[in-house]
């Protein structure tokens, strides 16, 4: 400590914490189309990020949020170009810089955690190699920590600046020796609860991640005197190798068994693990600003929560500022101090998160707040319930009040009894149980939601209820009859009454079919009506899903996702079914569109007494539509209760985890 090492990262100016890290002013971005005319993707947008802060940009797809972020990094795709405004990082203008200059900034000054974990890692390189690239590209010293120049002053003003050698990492070769020396010293000092302390050490002292001064600090806290502690730390913490650092970074990002994992390829990783690797890469060179572009939108909610929690801890300790791009207002408010709302390429509202959420002022923000499922607390009230008809309303209010009563007495339209489905896995002897002994029933005129994360078996259940898949054992009964016995005309009749709406509105409509032909198809299959009456019926159905008649001649690729999903609903309604099986029917849609589709489904149910089996991964949506909830995990039924029960008194830990993970779920909104 007495040597005259250069002080790490220069003297941190305390006053710098009040000068912005990133300042984007009046940004304009344009894309040139094939036909040569310019399309404005971002217009006159301004936002500011301060060191160590989390700032969220919220918007729907096409709002310009990702484009804004990519123009900061100088990585606009294709013909994209910044045509106006300024982007300043540390007060230095970035607009107009050459790619060579940007190469110097990327990695060290700003990092990226991209959106889709599946496509953002190169499939042919090992994970470790891809982390290593990030380190070598910026000539990072792998033996010691580089704190972001502002970290100390922000995260913990009390900690004095460390000298360069104090930031040396533990190496994997020294780690055993360090632990042994620590144990010996602690024994000699007769410290209490030795085993527990040693356990803590071996957990926190990760090679390539934990530094000398932290080790010394830990030892002092454990009860050693300063000199002994620093003596041990100096002797046994002398800097890590490249491989140590790679696994250190990966384990910092929350990847278990990092040194083994580093030798694996991306296809051997799950989505969540890949996202962790991408976080490690984004933070590898300790950037001051991390741009996180929807980093968890492809992941299950519980995984999302874990990863974001982890990212939070990590960026806090490093003093990294995060520009967080998301479509989820609840998530943004929960994670960021400052929110920027974008719509049609413009910033429509910005300000402190809670304030924006509680008192949205721009009509668009208001709309967004109202539609966000994670912020809604009630089942959507259908049009009739909203009160066009007073008698009806009374009756429905009664229905709502006595909801549980009705559920208990209600007539079962679909019953699933001890349903099990096994699949043969390639190269494995034992069968994989995708669905394991699941029983529940859907009552006429109500909605039952099956909730679960990917791999829970919920879609397999849906396919068995639709008789697209045969169960290994167990039965599905429709109106009291076992559907597996249905043949010929009987099966056709079943298909007429039980209709599907699938997750992917892009995939479930034949791109070669006009909208008219798509909606007409079930009528044709079931030989209902003549040409004239079918046209009339299709018109009626389009009207029902609130789409103009003019879409009849169009093709699926010309419509938006929400419109396609309406077409899919119209098709399902063509035969006047009793039951609709909706498999993730709103998951692919933007919040506002999702909200509208949910309302449509709700209105249809109220008008026609439909029964829904609603498959989703999103508990927040469940609250808006379902009467009853079935929670599934790993093919098993975990919990089955009314919606209110599940939300208010969840019985199982897994359900509680799912509820906890709803972004923004715990935010208290004093909605006007």
């Amino acid at each position: 400590m007495t040597n005259n090492d250069t002080v790490a990262n220069g003297a941190v100016k305390k006053e710098s914490s009040t000068s912005p890290l990133l300042e984007v002013k009046h940004l304009d971005v344009e894309f040139t189309t094939d036909t040569g005319h310019a399309v404005k993707a971002v217009q006159d947008s301004s936002f500011t990020v301060y060191p160590g802060q989390w700032v969220a940009i919220v918007g729907e797809s096409g709002s310009g949020k990702s484009t804004s972020a990519m123009s900061v990094l100088g990585l606009l795709p294709g013909t994209g170009k910044v045509t106006g405004g300024s982007i300043k990082l540390h007060g230095e203008e970035l607009v107009g810089k050459s790619q060579k200059d940007y190469e110097k900034l990327r990695g060290t000054e700003m990092g990226l955690v991209p959106q889709d974990p599946m496509s953002n890692l190169n499939p042919v390189w090992r994970i470790g190699t891809q982390v290593k690239e990030a380190l070598t590209a910026n000539n990072m010293d792998v033996s010691r920590e580089k704190r972001s120049s502002l970290s100390k002053s922000l995260s913990n003003a009390e900690v004095e600046l460390k000298k360069s050698d104090d930031e040396l990492f533990i190496s994997s070769a020294e780690r055993e020796g360090l632990l042994a020396a620590a144990k010996k010293a602690l024994e000699a000092a007769h410290v209490a609860r030795l085993d527990q302390k040693m356990e803590n050490f071996s957990e926190t002292w990760v090679a390539g991640s934990q530094t000398r001064w932290l080790v010394a600090q830990d030892l002092v806290k454990a009860g050693l005197d300063d000199d002994t502690a620093w003596g041990i730390a100096k002797e046994h913490v002398t800097g890590s190798s490249m491989d140590d650092r790679i696994s250190g970074l990966l384990s910092e990002a929350g990847l278990p068994e990092a040194s083994t994992r580093a030798r694996q390829f991306p296809h051997e990783f799950s989505g969540g693990m890949r996202q962790r690797a991408l976080i490690a890469i984004g933070l590898a060179s300790r950037p001051d600003l991390l741009i996180a572009d929807e980093p968890t939108s492809a992941l299950d909610v519980t995984v999302q929560k874990k990863i974001l929690d982890h990212l939070r801890t990590l960026t806090d300790s490093l003093g990294t500022a995060v520009l967080f791009i998301t479509h989820d207002l609840g998530l943004a408010a929960e994670r960021a101090q400052h929110i920027v709302v974008m719509y049609h390429g413009r910033v429509v509202e910005s300000g402190p998160s809670l304030e924006v959420l509680q008192h949205p002022q721009h009509p668009y923000t208001k709309r967004l707040v109202n539609a966000a499922p994670s912020l809604a607390s009630q089942r959507i009230i259908s049009a009739k319930q909203r009160g066009e008809d007073a008698d009806e309303l009374d009756k429905l209010m009664e229905h709502h009040a006595k909801g549980e009563d009705i559920l208990e007495r209600g007539e079962h339209i679909i019953t699933v009894d001890h349903l099990t489905r096994e699949f043969k896995l390639p190269r494995k002897k034992e069968m994989f149980k995708a669905v394991d002994d699941v029983s529940f029933s859907v009552k006429r005129g109500t909605t039952l939601a099956i909730v679960g994360e990917s791999g829970s078996g919920k879609s397999t259940v849906a396919n068995m209820v639709l008789r697209l898949l045969q169960p290994t054992s167990g039965t599905v009964t429709y109106e009291g009859e076992d559907i597996s016995t249905f043949q010929g005309a009987k099966l056709l009749d079943f298909r007429k009454h039980v209709q599907p709406v699938f997750q992917n509105p892009y995939g479930s409509l034949d791109p070669m079919y006009s909208i008219y032909r798509s909606i007409e198809e079930p009528l044709r299959i079931h030989k209902i009506g003549d040409r004239k009456s079918r046209i009339a019926r299709v018109r009626e159905l389009l009207d029902m899903v609130e789409l103009p008649e003019s879409v009849m001649g169009r093709y699926p690729n010309e419509l938006s996702g929400g419109q396609r999903q309406r077409i899919a609903i119209a098709r399902a309604m063509a035969l006047d079914p009793d039951v609709i099986i909706a498999d993730e029917a709103v998951s692919a849609l933007d919040v506002l569109v999702q909200d509208e589709v949910l309302r449509l489904l709700n209105d249809l149910q109220a008008e026609r007494g439909l029964s829904y089996l609603f498959i989703t991964h999103d508990l927040a949506v469940v609250r808006q539509i379902a009467d009853e909830v079935v929670v599934m995990q790993n093919g098993r039924l975990v919990e089955h209760a009314t919606t209110d029960e599940v939300f208010d008194h969840p019985q199982m830990q897994y359900t509680r985890d799912l509820l906890d993970a709803i972004p923004g779920g715990k935010l208290q909104l004093g909605l006007d």
Binding site: L75, G107, L112, N122, E133
Partner: protein
Amino acid sequence: MGKYLLRRILQMIPVVIGTTLLIYALVFALPGDPVAAMFGDKPINQSVAAQIRSEYNLDKPFIVQYLIFLKNALTLNFGETFSHQPVIDVMGRAFPVTIKLAIMAFIFEAIFGVVFGIISGLKRGKWYDSVILVVSLLLISVPTFVFGFVLQYFVGVKWGLLPVTAGSNPGFFDLLMPASVLGSVSMAYIIRLTRSEVSSNMTEDYVRTARAKGMSSKSVTMRHILRNSMIPVVTYLGTDIGALMGGAMVTERIFNINGIGNTLYQGILRGEGPLVVSIVTVLVLVFVICNLVVDMLYAVLDPRIRYA
């Protein structure tokens, strides 16, 4: 990997048997009596003919002939030509020439195809990209033999840079022109393949991630764009070796090279069943083995392919 290799070799067997059977059937179902053809203009001596028939097993049922052929082929006994030379010797003389030719053509197409394809793909829309594209279109459109004649006329006859035809024991310079003719069409296809791979890989998400790491554009190009583009190109190159040996027939005729293509061609014209079947069998083997090697390489280049 060893298990996978073994399984693949086992899978090859039905293909090789099926292919040789097919060729065998086609050759020996040829109308016209090959024995009669041997007598040429002379009157046919029936007893000699019968002796020849039994010698070549031509008097036995077709499937028996095939099985005998297969059994002998396993011991490298491919029988004799009608002029009583062992087929194995004929092949032994012809194959080395063709192999030399095919290897030169292969190197030619691999180097120029990949290099021009990369330049074209990285600099899409530049003038040299257009030039490379037009040239490759022309090479595909102009039949090999026309291209061969043109080269022969200019490079060989007019400018006298290279020998017009290759002699009986051709060396490097004798084969230079034939090899480039042989490899030209494949080179054009490799250019197009490489170009489209490179330009589509440039827009991949992981390339953007690599740039966001701070990597220089040079190393992004080398490690991410080119590395990934090479997977389909290597596959194409591998399967092309077999095709080059087969395609040598035209080139060898133009340049008068006594390789396997010419020998096969003469064999077909003369109706020499055993010779034709033997050569085709060997060519099919080469092709199938190349495919196997490509599969192995593929698994090495692309870790997503498991040895399953």
